[in-house]
Symmetry: C2
Subunit: 559 residues, 2 copies
């Protein structure tokens, strides 16, 4: 008789969910299964572009993990560290102040990959991702926010930036995203009197020489026709060189002025996996055909986090592609193999041939290849939706979602901006040489700390004998003078080199300085030393930024 074994699954994507479910079903007498995930729900990731576009509601693209895995212990927590020697994982729950250790006998790494564009200057700080439900909400709100601003701005160059939407990467995710965004904007335009359809521009930027490399060329051609027909500008053979506050630049030196860059490229291993010093290749953990990590008898990896050799091709011939279809089968096979390992029976190599591939292009159109049959248009789109329905737990839920989708074909959903646009408290901003940070009359929105590059302050008005200039370099800061004066800039600040700053939001800066005497003292000393008296206290007086006195800081649990 074997002792009960604790199987700990890290990550609630396709691989993790299906591994945990199969484990709990295969050997309830033998194993206790626990899954740890950052959220308490499973996201059907391929539907995120449709959530971002408001084509389906968020509630219809997710399923509570507890409902999917009734026999598994579910822990919503942030994983802090993995200790393989001591067979335990440290997690942070809630605000993460207490350190909690979760032990295991077998550990399954199903952590997927993270978005990482650190090789492209500015991309991590300025490009939007589409990996989580929060990303999808953020993208939708951002796009609607751009329309709101474009409708009322009086600056043509700003309007152009606001109405240019760039999607980087033309795989499944990028292609679908640009199609769905074109829909969202197209459907919304009738509400914005001051925006002409011709003023809106969509760009799909791809490094390779074609889109949708996972699909046959004929289907990709169909997708190209559909997208260009809806006004999407497809730029092939184009590398992403940098992303700044208001532009994207390409490898061949083009600049696209935009406030919306969505990056669907740049996957990297989870930092948790990097920290483990495991055998890696192409950003994934190398496993054998049984999902076991070399050198361990209780460590397994599955899904996008793992490089899984395909049994029928041999290791040199091919690896499982990072798709939901494969992750589901990998998870199930992995479960069998862990149980075999515990029972002392031989494991089975992973073997699976793709049944096809499919994607939506928005507007109830899709492309699909299934068992060698190629579909386009509405049938492909319908197949795509059905594929998701098959994953939902319980018939009742399936019916509810199906009815809603049917309703959506008749009555489009409200695409309202459900969240107020709010800057994060601290953020990094990249500027190109020549970019204007502030113009006279603008109100200070933050405290700017220079990290790289240089900026010039220029004050030039009638009350001064000569224009006043001041240069800010790394270690210097600006913006505090206007914040303290509750006022507006009297000069302009321009980047004179390619530069990077950290900005602390004005409201947080004010609270912070008021609560921290050493900081207050610093500025009391700094300002008279840094500026001539004529320039101090000159900020024009306007009302405060935030008329609402409270509600930003509601209380909550402390653990």
């Amino acid at each position: 008789m074997t002792a009960r074994q604790k199987i700990l699954v890290l990550g609630g994507g396709f691989g993790g969910i299906f591994a945990a479910r199969k484990l709990a079903r295969l050997a309830p007498d033998l194993v206790d299964v626990e899954i740890i995930n950052r959220t308490n729900y499973f996201v059907f990731q391929p539907l995120l572009p449709e959530v971002a576009a408001g084509a389906i509601s968020a509630a219809d693209a997710v399923a509570p993990i507890r409902a999917l895995l009734p026999k598994v212990r579910v822990r919503q927590a942030e994983i802090v560290a993995i200790n393989l020697d001591e067979k335990r994982v440290e997690v942070a729950q809630g605000t993460g102040r207490r350190r909690i250790q979760v032990g295991f006998d077998h550990l399954v790494l199903a952590l997927g990959q993270v978005a990482d564009l650190s090789r492209v200057p500015g991309a991590n700080d300025h490009a939007l991702a589409l990996k989580s439900l929060a990303d999808a909400f953020a993208l939708r709100n951002h796009v609607l926010h751009c329309l709101e601003l474009a409708d009322v701005t009086e600056h043509p160059e700003e309007k152009k930036r606001l109405l240019t939407f760039v999607v980087i990467g033309a795989g499944f995710s990028g292609t679908e995203t640009v199609g769905e965004l074109a829909d969202l904007v197209g459907r919304s335009l009738r509400f914005y009197r001051n925006i002409e359809r011709g003023e809106v521009r969509f760009v799909l930027m791809e490094y390779a020489d074609r889109i949708l490399p996972e699909l046959p060329q004929s289907l990709a051609d169909y997708a190209v026709r559909r997208l260009t027909g809806r006004g999407v500008d497809i730029m092939l053979n184009t590398a992403l060189a940098s992303v700044t506050n208001d532009a994207v630049t390409t490898g061949d030196g083009k600049t696209i002025e935009t406030w919306t860059a969505v990056a669907t490229i740049g996957n990297a291993p989870s930092p948790l996996i990097t920290s483990l010093d495991l055998p890696m290749q192409w950003g994934k953990v190398r496993v054998d055909q049984y999902f076991r990590v070399a050198g361990f008898d209780n460590l397994w990896a599955v899904g996008d986090a793992a490089l899984v050799p395909l049994a029928d091709h041999g290791e040199a011939a091919g690896y499982a592609p990072p798709t939901a279809q494969f992750a589901v089968r990998e998870g199930r096979r992995l479960a069998h193999n862990i149980v075999a390992e515990i029972r002392g029976t031989p494991p089975t190599a992973f073997e699976y041939a793709s049944k096809g591939a499919l994607t939506s292009l928005g507007m109830q159109k899709g492309v699909a290849t299934v068992y060698g049959v190629r579909l386009t248009g509405f049938p492909a789109w319908l197949l795509w939706r059905s594929f998701y329905l098959s994953f939902l737990p319980g018939w009742a839920t399936k019916i509810r979602v199906a009815v809603n989708w049917f309703l959506d074909t008749i009555v489009p959903r409200n695409t309202v901006q459900t969240h107020r646009f709010q800057r994060p408290a601290t953020r990094y901003i990249h500027y190109r040489a020549g970019d204007t940070v502030f113009e006279p009359g603008m109100r200070a929105d933050g405290f700017y700390m220079v990290l790289d590059g240089a900026f010039e302050l220029l004050i030039d008005d009638d009350s001064l004998d000569a224009p006043y200039r001041k240069t800010y370099r790394p270690g210097d800061h600006f913006g505090e003078r206007a914040i303290f004066g509750k006022g507006a800039y009297v000069g302009s600040i321009t980047a004179i080199e390619d530069s990077r700053v950290l900005v602390l939001r004005a409201a947080d800066f004010e609270r912070f300085v008021a609560a921290f005497p050493a900081m207050e003292q610093y500025f009391d000393d700094y300002l008279p030393a840094a500026f001539p008296p004529a320039l101090l206290g000159r900020a024009e007086s306007v009302a405060e930024d935030e008329p609402e006195p409270m509600r930003e800081a509601a209380g909550g649990p402390s653990d």
Copy 2:
């Protein structure tokens, strides 16, 4: 022939929306109407408790203002200042860096009221409100987060706080909220193995001697029976004395340990209105029976922001109650009167008698009194939902929402925690004397600046000859040592008086110090001066708080 007049409506609640709509319809040849609102959608506020409970989806409780008001110019912006003399309003759009002036001939104040509990210590910082869609999301996520934590905590006193939910105020909003929360938790419990129904407590706290004062006593009695039958503890004649990080205290000295206090009381005028020096009474702008503010011929107020005398009672006899029913009629009448003013015809006094009142109690039960007829249970609830449907623009939308509501009666929606629990970057926390802030082993979550009161640090372990104590008073700070050490607390910090701090989140603090040399220098000097060498660099080394390297600071428009 009269010149075209610009009517500017501030605020998109019931009063503002119906005034703007009527104005644009009554005299399209005579007036240009613009409405300014913080969001681009209208929220049916009475449904917010149901959104918070996940009983209906957010998209079904809102309507895009542009769709409601096709003939009105809609501006989504934050109002910064109102200048009556110069007939212009300053607004901030987007990040609000440019100052934009919007002129008017007639100004309608439809700004409602804001939540303000500044008279109750700690309430503004710790109590949750239910005024906006964002509040409703925050409440739902907070409650689900409490369940997640309660399911895994090993500390019984924490579990109790996590499972105690206090709603303050037993008017329509509070009564409905506590009913809906009881539903939400009740429906969710089956997914949480480690929570027993008997461990969950709901409290409805009310200053008066009865609930639902707007309804006849017999209906209130019915509501009391319904709520107590579902386990809600109703505390009447109970004042709110304070809210701290983990408790609510009452006027008669009781303490209820809780991490969830929802306040539906404490309305105050918008700070924008306060700034205007208008005739005020009970926190509202005094207007005449034509909605005109005394002393102005082009300034009007409507809805909750206004104190509207009822014509049929005389000024001493009564004022319009702050309900949607009245606001809608007020808005329409106001529109007529503005047009009359422009045309030079006499205005008409506002006259309206309530047709009744109704509210939902959750679980498809309600109470209503309509034209003198009293309804309870399902019929009242159905009437309540129908009332909302009548406000939705267009038949198609009405049908979609109705079908969804019907589906919800068969298949409950997924109540997933759609947003990751995230602290604001800076927040104020109130502690009672004796409260523990940190215990040894906890990880530093922020930089704490003492504003009021006092705290004691106590380090007492084997490596020290004697326990080390240090007191922090206003102007002092703690938390930085553990953040810099990337580690955990080695001692405990306890409030030794009733205290208040400002906390800057650890991740933001780290970025800030790294980007600001003067701060770095301050701490380099401070730490060796403040602590004996034996205590420095002692923080136990653990991995970083945030395994995810990016995504918190996505880029966006700068104006």
